[in-house]
């Protein structure tokens, strides 16, 4: 089911792009990532709107009053918060649901990249069964897995001064960190747990994705880097990038709410 709906179509689209651009798998991954990010753009906009609205209401007097009033009773606090959400017509899932929907697409993208690279016999056999009949597998193989200095089917390292430097893993970690920092909504509420979690994510995610880039095929790193850069660009186009967040010691600036901008 997962294979038929997500992985197989993704793999074939990736291969169509690969063929159309003349057999450069690195460029095919970049274009495919852009395509997926464009398709999921409305979800991202919805997520930004949701989290912006959440921030706005957390700064409201009514919200603060509820927090103070039910400070000692977590159950009652949760009930009152839900009541308040209903009252103002806010769905608390609106900020996280789009992210949840995007996760399978990201996994599908990753699996399709790994499948199309077909770096081992069983993977090639699986690819053979995945490609649609309009492809002639004999003409498709071998896929050109070389991109710049990399073999996309292998973890990347460049050798300099007798050292093996995982350049892509470093770039993945940096771009992930930058994306997390500049797209993190500025919090105006003291003790905002959402903001604290966001800060933790900004710390852990670069390490996690950097580790993946270090361990897995470099084709995946190309996807991570492209995805991070496109993500920053999307936020920038929506006026939601906070570059000051990259400067240590700078206080965050509240970016304009999407809803406000559109009015």
């Amino acid at each position: 089911m997962w294979e038929q709906i997500i992985v197989n179509p993704f793999t074939n689209v990736l291969l169509v792009i690969y063929k159309l651009i003349g057999g450069d798998f690195g460029v095919a991954i970049i274009l495919f990532t852009i395509l997926i990010r464009l398709i999921t753009h409305p979800l991202m906009v919805s997520q930004i709107k949701g989290s912006t609205k959440m921030q706005e209401l957390q700064g409201s007097k009514e919200w603060q009053d509820i927090q103070k009033k039910y400070k000692g009773n977590k159950e009652q606090l949760a009930q009152e918060q839900m009541k308040y959400y209903k009252q103002i017509g806010y769905n608390p899932l609106s900020s996280c649901l789009p992210t949840i929907i995007q996760i399978p697409l990201i996994f599908g993208l990753y699996q399709s990249i790994m499948r199309a690279l077909a770096a081992s016999p069983l993977q090639l056999l699986t690819l053979t069964r995945t490609v649609y009949p309009f492809f002639h597998i004999g003409n498709l193989v071998p896929l050109n897995s070389k991109f710049l200095w990399m073999n996309l089917a292998q973890p990347e390292k460049i050798y300099a001064f007798g050292l093996a430097i995982p350049l892509l893993a470093i770039i993945v970690a940096i771009t992930t960190y930058v994306q997390s920092k500049v797209t993190m909504p500025a919090s105006t509420t003291p003790g905002d747990q959402g903001a604290m979690m966001g800060k933790m994510m900004a710390l852990y995610m670069p390490l996690l994705l950097g580790y993946f880039a270090l361990t897995f095929a470099s084709g995946l790193s190309i996807y991570f880097i492209t995805s991070n850069l496109i993500g920053i660009a999307q936020y920038a186009l929506l006026g939601k990038v906070n570059w000051r967040a990259l400067i240590p010691g700078q206080k965050p600036v509240q970016t304009t709410a999407l809803s406000a901008r559109k009015k």
Binding site: I103, F107, Y110, Q111, M114, A119, S120, P121, L122, Q123, L124, L125, T128, H136, I137, G138, N139, V141, P142, N151, Q154, Q193, M196, M197, M200, M201, Y204, M205, L208, F212, T215, F216
Partner: protein, 354 residues
């Protein structure tokens, strides 16, 4: 707050584990391969190389002591002509020489940059080892590099040598002849598809190779000229088998072909159930072929009768004949290795001890 931190770490770990799980789809990256001597069958499959007694089916030894699921062994293990070394490469980019008696490491070659997928060819002086890093490595029997030759693409198939040249195919649709002493290219021929399996030398200075586009080529070993070709109905994975009269090869549609290469041979085609990935082998008066559908076929050499024996699992690996036994290593089967007698009855099966 501590609980929240734990929840967040959990949230990060779930996708991490899922991604890792996807990546370890790489763990089962190929299928087992084997070779035999008078006493044992040596099987490279998954995290271990096993030596299994031909007599009893019991494990004699296994290598390494500490396995890595991320770095399995799938290249065909090969014995040196004196039987003193078992050469096998792993997905950890290392080529090992093991003592066939004990499984202890004699030497390790660590300079390759990619996985060892194809088996080596060993002579009484040299070891010619193909790697997925596009290179063919020539090593002494002590494991020191003599020369290396860089081809256009990954080399997955086992090379072959006539003493003068080493011949091999690449995923880049090329077949190369390289001087066995110096590593200099003698000729290179472009075919219509990737050469995934071994190439085979035949009489009359001929070299045979099957392609992923479904063509069998006969090349002149002197200059690489294409002097003979036949068409299968789908892709060909493993190398062809030559018995002096016919060239036998199977394709993805389950068709087994016999193409005459001498005046006395007769062409025939036999339909079997399931894709044929491994090469056929000769056992007495039969050809033995495994299929993806999980059957081992004993086919008469004239192609008239085919007797299927059902085996648990998919059969991608080329079967190996050891005297009266036919050894089959299924993928995803209940046993890692099964031994059939001449009637096709199960003699023993090997399930690795935990």
């Amino acid at each position: 707050m501590k609980m929240k931190k734990l929840a967040l770490i959990g949230l990060l770990l779930v996708p991490a584990l899922l991604l890792a799980g996807c990546a370890t789809g790489l763990t089962a990256s190929s299928w087992p391969a084997m070779t035999v001597d008078a006493k044992n069958v040596y099987l490279a499959g998954g995290p271990y190389v096993y030596a299994v007694s031909l007599e009893t089916g019991a494990q004699v030894w296994r290598f390494p002591d500490k396995p890595s699921a991320a770095n399995p062994f799938y290249a065909t293990p090969v014995l040196t002509p004196d039987g003193g070394q078992l050469i096998v490469g792993g997905f950890d980019k290392k080529l090992y020489s093991l003592d066939p008696q004990t499984g202890k490491t004699i030497w390790t070659y660590t300079q390759a940059r990619d996985r060892w997928i194809g088996g080596v060819v060993a002579t009484d002086k040299m070891i010619y080892a193909p790697n997925a890093d596009y290179k063919l490595y020539a090593l002494s029997l002590q494991g020191s590099l003599q020369w290396s030759f860089e081809a256009d693409q990954a080399i997955w198939g086992t090379p072959v040598t006539d003493g003068t040249n080493v011949y091999f195919g690449t995923l880049g649709r090329k077949v190369y002849a390289v001087n066995a002493q110096t590593g200099q290219q003698v000729w290179m021929q472009t075919l219509d598809g990737a050469v995934l399996g071994a190439v085979m030398l035949g009489p009359g200075n001929m070299l045979y190779a099957g392609t992923y586009s479904g063509t069998i080529y006969g090349l002149n070993t002197t200059d690489g000229q294409n002097v003979w070709s036949k068409q299968a109905t789908s892709w060909i994975w493993s190398g062809p088998l030559l018995d002096g009269t016919n060239l036998y090869v199977g394709d993805a549609n389950g068709k087994l072909f016999a193409f005459p290469v001498s005046g006395t041979g007769q062409p025939w085609t036999k339909d079997l159930s399931g894709a044929i990935v491994g090469s056929p082998v000769v056992s007495g008066k039969n050809l033995v072929v495994g299929t993806e559908a999980g059957s081992v076929y004993f086919v008469d050499l004239d192609g008239k009768n085919a007797r299927p024996i059902a085996i648990s699992g998919k059969i991608y690996a080329t079967p190996v004949v050891a005297g009266p036994l036919t050894l089959v290593a299924p993928t995803d089967g209940s046993a890692t290795l099964v031994a059939l007698d001449e009637t096709g009855a199960l003699k023993w099966s090997f399930i690795p001890p935990k």
